[in-house]
Symmetry: D2
Subunit: 306 residues, 4 copies
C-alpha cells in the first residue's frame, strides 16, 4: 500500500556485484564505455545478449545505458542543456529505426506528493505534447512532413487509485495504440554516491521483482505488446540497505553471509533516505529529462523541404 | 486545445427555458420537488422518461437530480456534513439496487492547475480507496461481509495528455472492469446565482455537445458499457453568455432573436468568469462531495454480524 | 476578505481615457515610444513630472513603462528570452545608478492557490537568490567584486494571513534593510486585448485606491522608506467592467452618464474573467519575468578582473 | 544552504540519555506523567525549573510537554478529533492566563516543497484566521464579547528567501504586535519508533544549536519580546544518526567512545530518512494540529451571554 517503490535497480550496481573484470569477459555480455571529457559525462552500455547471461546478471536480455553526469546536481542551465542533448541521443538509439512516424506515450510513474518520488510526474509536466494536435489538424499544424505524436500519462500510485499502475497503462495503451512507451521513474540506488547524478535507460521496460519493491505487474513489451523504454534517475537510497552496507564496512569482510539487513533492521522497512535539497534537485533533473525527450521527438521529425 | 470545458449544462437551467408550468405537464417528463427546511436544501428531480420528451428537453432519457444548498459556500463544517449526508442519499438511489457488492471507479475530470476547474481532481484526493486492499486481503481486511471496491482516476486534460479523456477512461474501464463509473466535474452555469451552491447528479453520464464546450467523446453507458453517474457543481459562468444575458436585460425583450452573444463578443470566447475566493470554495465543496461518496460507499457495505 | 485584488491599473488604459493627442501635450507629462520591430515589442514610457499632471492623470509622479509584447502568450522559448532581455534593460533603468552594490528584495504578491493570481508567487519561485550566500561567504562565493544581494518574499493574502500585505513587507524591510523593493503582481486590465501580453513597470510602487480593489495600505517609498518598483502583468478583467463596457458599445455614445456598471451588475462584484489556458500562460509569463530579474541582477554585478 | 533542518530535539529523547530514574530525582527538574487509556495518549511534562538543571539537561528553563499518541499515524478521523482536543488542552495551559483577549501569530516553519518538511506550512493552511476580520468589523462579527485574533505566516526557507527565518518573523512581530507566537515545525527524532506519533510542545521557543541543525537565530521570548510556544512532530530521522545507532547496537557497548557517526559517515551528512507514506501522514497530522489550535483559540473566546 506504500507509495513509492524502493528498488536497487541500477544495472551498474548489479554489475558491481560481479567480481571486477569478470563482467566484461562474461559470454553474452558486451560492455561499451564512452567518456565525454568536455562535459564530464560517462556513458556505459551493457548489452545482455543471451538468456544465459541474463540469468547470471539477474537482468533480462536487452540494452542498459547508464549516463553518469556529476553536474546533474549543479544549478547550471547551460550544462543541463548538454546533458539533455546527450540523453536525447541515447534515447534515439533505442527507438525503432526507419522513416516511420512514431506515436510515443510517455508515462510519469511515482507520487507527485512525495518530493523524491515526483520525478516522473514532473518530467511529464514539461513535455511538448503533440498527439491531439496532429490528430485534429494533421502534421501541417507543425509544418512537418514527418511528425511524431507525443502523448503523456500520470497514472498515480496504487494507494490513491486502488489500481495497479500496469492496469491503468495497459488500458490506455489498448485504447490509444501508441507505437512505443517511455516510462520515467525515480529509482533507488545502493550508494549515496550515485544519487541524482545517474540516468539509466533500458529497452527492457520495468520488471516485477527486479528490485526490492513490490510492483507486481510488469511494464514490458511482453505484457503490453509494444516496446517499452524505461528511464530512471536514483533519488533515494533504501534505508535498510544503507545501514546494512555501513555495518558490513565496519565488520569483517565475510559479513555478507551473516545477515540480511532487511531482517536485522525491520524498523527500517518502508523507509528511505534522501537529501535535504531534494526539491531543487528533482525540479532540475526532471526539466533536463523533459528537454531531452522533447529534443529526441523533434529530431525524429522532418520539416517540409528539409 | 483549451483546458477546461465551459458548458451551460445545468438541467435546471435548461428547464427554465421552457415556459413556467409547461415542463411539469410535459408528457414523458415527471418532476419531484422536496425541501429540507431544517438544512435549507432543495432537491428537484426531473425524470425524462420518453424519447420524445428527451428531444423536447434537449437532454437524454434519464434522471436529473439538482440539490440547491445555499450554505455550500459557507465555511460551516457541521452544515457541510449535512449536505454530504443528503448527497450520499441521492447517490445511493441512482446506484444499482440489490445485495451485490459494487466495484466503483470514481473519475475526477478537469485541470488541477486551474483553480475553478480543480473540483474533480480535489474530490478524488479525499476518497477512501479500497479496491487494492480488498483485492489483496479480501473483505476481511475491513471486517465486512459485503464491501464495495472503490478505485479512482484523475485523467488530466487533453492539452497535457494529448489524449481524449474518454480514451483514457475507456481503457481503464476495459482493464479494471468496474461495475459503475462516477464522474465528477466542474460545470458552467448560466447565472452567477447558482455558482458553487448547486450539485447536479444524473445517471445519463456526460454527453458530447450537451453544453457549449467541445468534449467530443461521450462518457455514457452506451459507449463504456457500464452505468455512468455524472456529478457536477457549477464553478464558473461562460463570459460571452453572461455578457449576452446582461445585454438582453437592458434591451427590449425580443432581443433574443437579434444576436448570438458568442458572435457578438468573439473576444470573450474561451474566457470564463469566477469568484475571487474560488480557491476556498473549491476546497470546501470538493471535500463535501468526497465525504458524500465515502458515506454512500460505506452505507452500501455490510459489516459482519449486522 | 476576497483574495486577489481586481484593479484596472494599467497606466496605458488610464491614458486612453484622455482624448487622443491631449496626453502628449499635457504640461508635465512626457511620453516616449519605441518599437522593436524584430521582436514585436512596443515600449511606451509615460513620465509624470509635476503634481498638477499627477492630479490630472490620477496617478502619482513617476515613470510608467509599458511593454506590449503580443508573443508573451506564445509558447516560444527563444522569443521569451528576448522579452526577458528587454524587460531586464527597462528594469535596470529604474534602479538607482552608481557603482554601489544593491540589496534587492523581490516580493511576489497574490494568491498561489488561484491560478490567475499566482503570477507573483511563481516569479519568486524561479529567482536566483544570493543574499544569504553573500552574507555568509562574501562576494568571493560568486567570484565577483561587485555582487548584488537578492532576497525574496511571498507574503500571502490577507484571507490566509490575517495581516495586511503592507504590514508583513514593512516588517521584513525594517529587519533586513534592502536598498530597493521590487513588487510583482497580477493586474486587472479593462480590455481583454491586453491580457497576458503587457508588462507594466513603474517606480511609484503600489498606491492604495489606484485601482478598483481595496488594498488599503500602500507599498511606496513614502511608507517603506526605500524605492519601490512595481511590476505587473494583467491576467484578468474585472467582470462588472467588461459587462459595462460591452453594454456601452451597444448603447448610444453618451451612455457613459447613464450608469455605473458596478451598480448595475451587483451580482458581478468580486468576480473576474480570465482565459481557459491561464495555467499555461501564468507559468510561461512568470518564468519570463524571473529570467528578466535574474539578468538585471547579474548585469549589475561585476566579475573580478572585468 | 540546505532546506530543512535536521535536529534531534525531542526533549523525551534528551532525557533518555540520562540514566533511568535519575531524571525524576534531579534537583530542579519535575516530571508529571499522565496516561489517557481510552484514547491511548500518554502525556509527559518535564519542568526544568533552575539554571543548574537547564545546564544538566542541555535545554533551557521551561515546560516541555510530550504527547505520545500511536494512533496519530492511523487514518481514523474520530480518533484524530480526540488528539486535537487533548492537544488543545495542553496548548491552553501554556497560554498566558487571564481574561485578556490574545492576538496570536501562528508560524508554519519548513519547506512546503519537501513532503517531510511541509508540516508547518500545511498546519497554517487549515487555521481559522480571524485577525483581519476582528480588526475591520470588531468582535461583533463573531458574536463574541471576547475573541482572540489569529494571524498566520509561512516564512519559507532561507534557500528560497535569502533571509533567516528569524529576520522575517522578527519583522512581522514588530509590525503586527501579537501577544504570543506559536511556531510549528517538523522535527527529527533519534529513533524511528517516535516518527509521526509524538507531539512536542514547549514554552521555550526554538533555540539555536539545540539540535543538529544550523538554525543560527533563535525564536525565543528573549529575542522576539513575546512568549514563544514551539510545537513539533518528528517526521524524519537524521541518516548519520540512525546508521551510527545501528552500528552501536551491533558492536560492543562501549562503542560510544570510539566514533562519532557524523564523522564516520560523511556521505550521509545532509541526508535524512523518512517513511514511504509520508505524504498521507503529514496531511493527516497537520490537520490534527490545525484543529487543535482552532479549538484552543475558540475555547479561549467568550460568546455573548455565555
Amino acid at each position: 500500500m506504500g507509495n513509492f517503490q524502493v528498488r536497487t535497480d541500477l544495472a551498474l550496481e548489479a554489475r558491481e556485484g560481479i567480481t571486477e573484470g569478470e563482467c566484461g569477459e562474461l559470454r553474452g555480455v558486451r560492455v561499451e564505455e564512452d567518456y565525454d571529457e568536455e562535459h564530464d559525462i560517462r556513458i556505459t552500455k551493457v548489452f545482455i545478449e543471451t538468456r544465459n547471461a541474463a540469468k547470471l546478471m539477474g537482468k533480462p536480455v536487452g540494452i542498459y545505458v547508464t549516463m553518469e553526469a556529476p553536474g546533474l546536481v549543479e544549478p547550471d542551465d547551460d550544462y543541463h542543456r548538454e546533458i539533455s542533448e546527450s540523453f536525447a541521443a541515447q534515447l534515439l538509439q533505442l527507438l525503432p529505426e526507419g522513416d516511420r512516424e512514431l506515436s510515443v506515450l510517455v508515462v510519469g510513474l511515482g507520487n507527485r506528493e512525495v518530493t523524491a518520488d515526483a520525478l516522473g510526474p514532473q518530467v511529464v509536466d514539461n513535455l511538448c505534447i503533440t498527439r491531439h494536435v496532429v490528430k485534429e489538424f494533421g502534421k501541417a499544424a507543425y509544418n512537418c512532413s514527418k511528425m511524431n505524436q507525443v502523448s503523456s500519462l500520470e497514472p498515480g500510485v496504487m494507494a490513491k487509485t486502488g489500481m495497479e499502475t500496469a492496469e491503468i497503462i495497459g488500458g490506455v495503451v489498448l485504447q490509444t495504440k501508441p507505437d512505443i512507451l517511455i516510462v520515467i521513474d525515480a529509482l533507488a540506488a545502493r550508494s549515496t554516491k550515485r544519487l541524482n547524478r545517474t540516468i539509466q535507460i533500458t529497452n527492457t521496460g520495468i520488471q516485477p521483482g527486479s528490485g526490492v519493491g513490490n510492483h507486481r505487474n510488469a511494464l514490458t513489451e511482453e505484457v503490453l505488446g509494444i516496446p517499452v523504454i524505461a528511464v530512471g534517475v536514483p533519488t533515494v537510497v533504501d534505508a535498510a540497505t544503507i545501514v546494512g552496507d555501513a555495518l558490513k564496512k565496519w565488520m569483517d569482510e565475510d559479513a555478507d553471509d551473516k545477515f540480511d539487513s532487511r531482517l536485522a533492521f525491520a524498523e527500517l522497512n518502508n523507509m528511505y533516505m534522501t537529501g535535504k535539497d531534494i526539491d531543487a534537485v528533482v525540479k532540475r533533473v526532471s526539466y533536463t529529462l523533459s528537454e531531452g525527450i522533447n529534443i529526441a521527438m523533434e529530431k525524429n521529425s522532418v520539416v517540409y523541404g528539409s
